[in-house]
């Protein structure tokens, strides 16, 4: 699984990164988290709001919608992989 967080360094972006990292450890997923702050790369995903959670190049969340939602998205991605 390939996980990316797109953000420009605001509070919400930072907290999404730390939430994702925490949840990956808890769910025992073997996936590195990439924090992308390069504006050109963020734009290439066609989004205008940050933070954005990208799993396997699929946008799964725009804006920080809470740790529970992130957990559900990670769990779902892990299940489909199996």
């Amino acid at each position: 699984m390939n996980i990316k967080v797109l953000g420009v360094g605001c509070d919400a972006c930072q907290s999404m990164v730390s939430d994702v990292e925490r949840l990956i450890t808890r769910l025992k997923l073997d996936a590195p988290v990439e924090y992308i702050t390069d504006v050109e790369k963020i734009i290439s995903y066609g989004v205008m709001s940050t933070p954005v959670l990208v799993i396997d190049e699929q946008i799964v969340m725009i804006g920080h919608r809470g740790a529970k939602k992130i957990e559900a998205a990670l769990q779902q991605a892990a299940d489909t992989e199996k």
Partner: protein, 354 residues
């Protein structure tokens, strides 16, 4: 077959869930109204009854002011931020961009400035939003109208002005904010400053995925609104407390009309001075308003106060640093200059007519 069965059983469950959510929100609204009604008698009882202070004394009047204003403003912030973010969940930057597409100057500026109030926006998204707008062909001036209006009409400032000055001043603040965004956007558009946008912006080809965030259900909208309310109130309550405490001291101890000579209508330099002082105070809008409120009671003029307010929320250093990634210094300077001038003009206008 199994799939249709499961979806049939899922439907009523979902229905129940949203009924429950509406019930919770409804109960919260009732509780909120009751609390709001009892604050004033409670504050009076606390300071004059329980503490036995006289309403005529400095301490008594300061404390009653504090005990009334703190719960009132916190309640107002909670309730209204919830309502505003709920309303905002119906809008998104992507929808706003679609609405602005193909609008010419003028109409576009008005629409952009208006949408700036209700589109969810955080200054950290300013860069992707700027590129997204410009790259889809929205004129620079129209983009700026949005970028100015979004932070200038700040929800916390709006609620606090409403709570402390009433709906007229809050309304004036909103209308002036939109007006400033329209004027500044038109001016920036006319100046033809496209060459001062960083070159890479014009080369970017954004992913044409056209992804819209999922349309949220009512339960999700409530959740989003509740999460933002907690976040915003959690961030500002301390400033509110400190600001109201300082305001209460001014309210009780500073003599009437002590400030007329330095912050009244007669002092022409007070509007630009208010803007200069306001710019570095970014993010402290919550703490600044109660102080300003107390100052106004002592003779400061409304235009000066509004100018100060808009400078505090509209021109912030962190946002300029973020925008520097896409704008050359010349354009940043024009941006700050035009917005500051517009704020000063509005300040004078109010001092003149009110």
């Amino acid at each position: 077959m199994a799939q249709t069965l499961s979806s049939q059983t899922a439907q009523p469950a979902k229905h129940n869930q949203s009924l429950k959510a509406f019930a919770i929100v409804g109960a919260a609204v009732v509780l909120w109204l009751v609390l709001y009604k009892v604050i004033q008698p409670f504050a009076n009882w606390l300071s004059y009854g329980l503490l036995g202070l006289s309403p005529a004394s400095h301490l008594g009047s300061s404390l009653a002011f504090f005990f009334y204003d703190v719960p009132k403003i916190i309640l107002l912030l909670g309730g209204m931020i919830f309502a505003i973010t709920l309303l905002r969940s119906f809008f998104s930057a992507e929808k706003t961009r679609a609405w602005l597409g193909g609008k010419r100057e003028g109409v576009g500026n008005i629409l952009a400035a208006t949408l700036g109030i209700i589109t969810p926006f955080c200054s950290c998204s300013a860069v992707p939003l700027f590129i997204g707008f410009v790259e889809s062909g929205i004129p620079l001036g129209v983009t700026f109208s949005f970028l100015i209006s979004a932070p200038v009409v700040n929800e916390v400032a709006l609620v606090m002005l409403f709570g402390m000055f009433g709906w007229k001043v809050a309304g004036l603040y909103m209308v002036s904010g939109v007006t400033i965004a329209i004027i500044a956007g038109v001016v920036i558009g006319r100046l033809k400053l496209e060459r001062y946008v960083e070159d890479f912006v014009w080369q970017i080809k954004a992913g044409k995925s056209g992804i819209l965030p999922d349309k949220p259900t009512w339960v999700q909208r409530f959740e989003i609104a509740w999460a933002s309310t907690k976040e915003i109130v959690g961030k500002v309550w301390l400033y509110v407390l400190v600001g109201i405490a300082i305001g209460a001291v001014i309210h009780g101890y500073v003599p009437e009309s002590a400030l007329v000579s330095i912050m009244g209508k007669g002092a022409w330099w007070s509007v630009p001075a208010a803007v200069l002082v306001g710019v570095p105070l970014y993010s402290n809008a919550a703490g600044v308003i109660p102080i300003v409120h107390a100052l106004m009671e002592k003779g400061a003029a409304l235009g000066t106060v509004l100018a100060f307010m808009m400078a505090v929320v509209g021109l912030s250093l962190p946002e300029m640093v973020i925008l520097r990634r896409v704008l050359k210094p010349q354009l940043i300077a024009v941006f700050i200059g035009v917005v500051a001038l517009a704020i000063i003009m509005i300040g004078y206008l109010f001092n003149l007519v009110m």
